[in-house]
């Protein structure tokens, strides 16, 4: 019996309803650690990267890591992998909550969805019992109603991961929502699930996750909990104010993207900051499974607001996406928009980015008046009704504009002839750090395998969030290639192991590696651990190359390269991408087109 793993993959062929349980490929598990890495390996071996992401040849994989379901700090993550409908590159979206551990307790490390169901279905997994059930009665319903209904007809303690109307309508920024408020958000994985006619996977498990060395594991976990509980980032900033604690800082230095990245400071940042949230609308904190940080916010709109509601969120990225990026400084509106994204299952970053793109297109007069004529709101920055209205158009593909919004920001801007106004990379919207004020992040956005993303290589940690004397100058391009590589490989390991990347604000890679070893019984040293991260990164890159992506896609919008920022400490900065990119390819051992060299592949065991 393997340790850390439960040893079984659940493969469901939706086209003909065939359910197969197969042993987990342990050779691959050792090489690619788990979760993100292992899921990528399965995808790489099993699908044609040039396939239509919304067609039956794409596969959607729900993968856990060996630490998922244990009490390793934040050991509650699962990942959704597929070819992305948004980027046409590899997609791997990570989510917390309770669903991932439940899948392991049910006895599965991974679920692979293949083909396409002839009609809407959901999957009911109760230990050995796996059933494909009709979902016509929940098709069209939001995630909260769906969860309530599916729990009532399966098990009141079951955990539900599924899509909302956005995924059903193949909106390219649709996500997968589990436990009503946790999202496998990015790259449109919800649309890939919707294209398979799968509404949800409902899981209940009564099994166990064993670890190889319980004594060592328990000691390591207790030590780690202590470290996390002492760290100013994890125990104070994130627990106290959530990720929204970042708003004040990024705004003060001038990298809080505002009005589609036209500015880096937002004059109404204070009302949507973490402090304001904590003082007004925060009800209580929440943690995902096994989480000693507890950054999630359970909130409720209070006071005389136009909108009412309660739910989970917002994150920092949401405050940027649905707030500052659209010029909205009304906390109640941001919360409400966040709740809608949870209910309809859309990525708050990409939904916000798409709306911001639309707003700039409209303000510059690039959208013909007849396309805006029927809208019940004015499409302009700072109008909360426009954000909320656009979310509805997008999720339900209402009208011409709704159909275009649902295609994501890049396709929208391209349709109106101004793709340069889309702020993102590989058709995926930027996250909430303006790369002109953190150039390592610029390189990270440009080279991220799943399109623009802050979590793939979070050099913010050293560019800004380190003590001043330990910082890597955020405005310099020196050393950024190496820093990105290190952070990218590190994040690949973290995601793959099944823990949350926030843990590593307190825990060093050697601790995580030790936890992995104690759980699985492997004996990786730090060098082998980092090498595994590099292997995963290169495998993702190879998937993308086979999908037709290359150097031309490792770029940034002209605004980042040519238009300097105007406010704050970062005034006058642009991203000098080309020299960083060339150095990055060298550091990675790739050719000038960004393809891994044969010797690099050989060194990583990928040849």
């Amino acid at each position: 019996m393997p340790y850390g793993w439960v040893g079984t993959v659940l493969r469901i062929d939706l086209t003909n309803g065939r359910i197969v349980r197969e042993p987990l490929n342990m050779d691959w598990a050792r090489q690619f650690l788990g979760g993100r890495g292992l899921g990528t390996k399965y995808l790489y071996e099993e699908i044609d990267p040039r396939c239509d992401p919304l067609g039956p040849d794409n596969k959607v994989i729900f993968a856990t890591g060996p630490l998922t379901g244990t009490y390793a700090p934040t050991g509650g993550r699962y990942m959704v992998l597929c070819k992305s409908p948004l980027t046409d590159a590899i997609a791997c979206s990570n989510s917390g909550g309770y669903w991932g551990p439940e899948l392991k307790f049910a006895g599965y490390d991974m679920v692979i969805l293949e083909g396409k169901a002839p009609k809407p279905v959901y999957i009911w997994v109760y230990n050995d019992h796996v059933e494909i059930r009709d979902a016509s009665h929940v098709w069209g319903k939001d995630t909260a109603h769906t969860e309530d209904i599916l729990r009532s007809e399966t098990d009141p303690q079951a955990r539900v991961a599924g899509i909302g109307p956005a995924g059903e309508n193949l909106c390219r920024v649709a996500c997968v929502i589990n436990d009503k408020g946790r999202a496998a958000g990015r790259s449109g994985v919800g649309a890939a699930m919707g294209a398979k006619n799968v509404k949800a996977i409902v899981v209940r498990g009564t099994g166990a996750v064993p670890v190889a060395d319980p004594v060592a594991f328990s000691r390591l976990v207790m030590e780690s909990l202590e470290i996390i509980n002492q760290s100013p980032v994890t125990a104070h900033a994130l627990r106290g104010l959530g990720t929204a604690s970042t708003v004040g800082f990024t705004n003060s230095v001038g990298i809080l993207p505002t009005r589609n990245f036209q500015q880096g400071q937002f004059e109404q940042a204070q009302p949507i900051s973490g402090q304001a949230l904590a003082q007004t609308m925060l009800v209580r904190n929440k943690g995902c499974y096994s989480c000693p940080i507890g950054c999630a916010r359970v909130t409720e709109i209070r006071g005389p607001a136009k909108w009412q509601g309660k739910g989970e969120g917002p994150e920092y990225e949401t405050i940027f996406g649905l707030g500052s990026d659209c010029g909205v400084g009304d906390l109640a509106a941001v919360l409400y928009a966040n709740y809608l994204c949870n209910l309809w299952a859309m990525d708050t970053i990409s939904a916000g980015g798409t709306i911001a793109t639309a707003m700039e297109l409209a303000e510059k007069g690039y959208i013909p008046p007849e396309d805006l004529a029927d809208l019940p709101f004015e499409l302009k920055f700072g109008n909360p009704d426009a954000v909320i209205g656009c979310l509805e158009l997008m999720a339900f593909r209402k009208g011409k504009l709704g159909n275009l919004l649902a295609e994501g920001g890049y396709r929208l801007a391209e349709y109106y002839g101004h793709p340069e106004l889309f702020m993102g990379v590989k058709k995926q919207d930027f996250a909430a750090y303006d790369p002109r004020g953190a150039k390592g992040m610029g390189l990270g956005y440009a080279t991220s395998n799943r399109g623009a993303c802050h979590l793939r290589g979070y050099t913010m940690s050293v560019e800004w969030f380190a003590p001043p004397n330990q910082r890597l100058d955020p405005f310099s391009i020196e050393g950024k290639a190496q820093a990105q590589k290190t952070f990218q490989d590190k994040a690949a390991c973290e995601d793959s192991s099944g823990i949350c990347t926030f843990t590593t604000f307190a825990l060093t890679p050697d601790k995580l590696c030790a936890l992995y070893n104690a759980a699985t019984g492997e004996d990786l040293d730090l060098e082998a651990w980092n090498l595994a991260g590099e292997r995963i990164w290169n495998l993702e890159r190879m998937f993308n190359i086979r999908a037709g992506l290359g150097r031309k896609d490792d770029t940034l919008p002209p605004r980042m390269l040519k238009e300097p920022l105007t406010g704050g400490a970062v005034q006058g900065q642009v991203v000098e991408l080309e020299p960083m990119l060339e150095e990055y390819y060298r550091v990675r051992g790739w050719d000038e087109e960004g393809r891994p060299l044969p010797e690099t592949l050989a060194r990583l065991g990928l040849a």
Binding site: P214, M222, L225, K286, G287, P292, G311
Partner: protein, 153 residues
């Protein structure tokens, strides 16, 4: 007596205590085998972790047909004697708090045994929502009334 005292207002519903409990007793992570339970009604903004209160008038003990449940005269702790338990689940029905567990493989009831004086759930709870403290064992109705009073944060 010393027992696990819960402060639900500090709980974040992370279930770390459940993992710690099953790991201590079973050497695996299995919420189905835990002796402490986190209720997570996130939507209603209600959650907290609860385990055995070792009630002064323990209904589980009073209803056990085989006298398998007893109270330790020294510690005041209510415990299940595995050898006498026939797995009838009367105690699960009797417990007003739903904190009597059942071991599916051994087919016996199980409640919080305080890990022999070193409760792992308390150690794992970084939020201070669980405490190993000296409190009076109350009759169950009094305990219920105490729990129903709104928590003062």
């Amino acid at each position: 007596m010393k027992m696990i005292v819960s402060h639900p207002e500090k709980c974040v519903a992370c279930h770390l205590c459940e993992g710690a409990c099953s790991f201590r007793h079973e050497n695996v992570f299995a919420p189905a085998k835990t002796r402490i339970w986190v209720t997570d009604f996130v939507e209603d903004q209600v959650y907290g972790a609860f385990t055995c209160f070792h009630c002064a008038d323990a209904p589980c003990l009073a209803n056990c047909p085989t006298y398998a449940i007893a109270r330790d005269p020294q510690t005041g702790q209510v415990y299940v004697n595995d050898d006498k338990c026939i797995g009838c689940k009367m105690c699960l029905v009797a417990c007003p708090f739903g904190v009597m567990g059942f071991h599916l493989e051994k087919h016996v009831a199980q409640n919080c045994d305080l890990c022999g004086g070193d409760p792992q759930c308390v150690k794992a709870c970084v939020y201070g929502a669980l405490e190993y403290a000296e409190v009076e064992a109350l009759p169950w109705e009094e305990r219920m009334a105490q729990l129903e009073r709104p928590a003062v944060a």
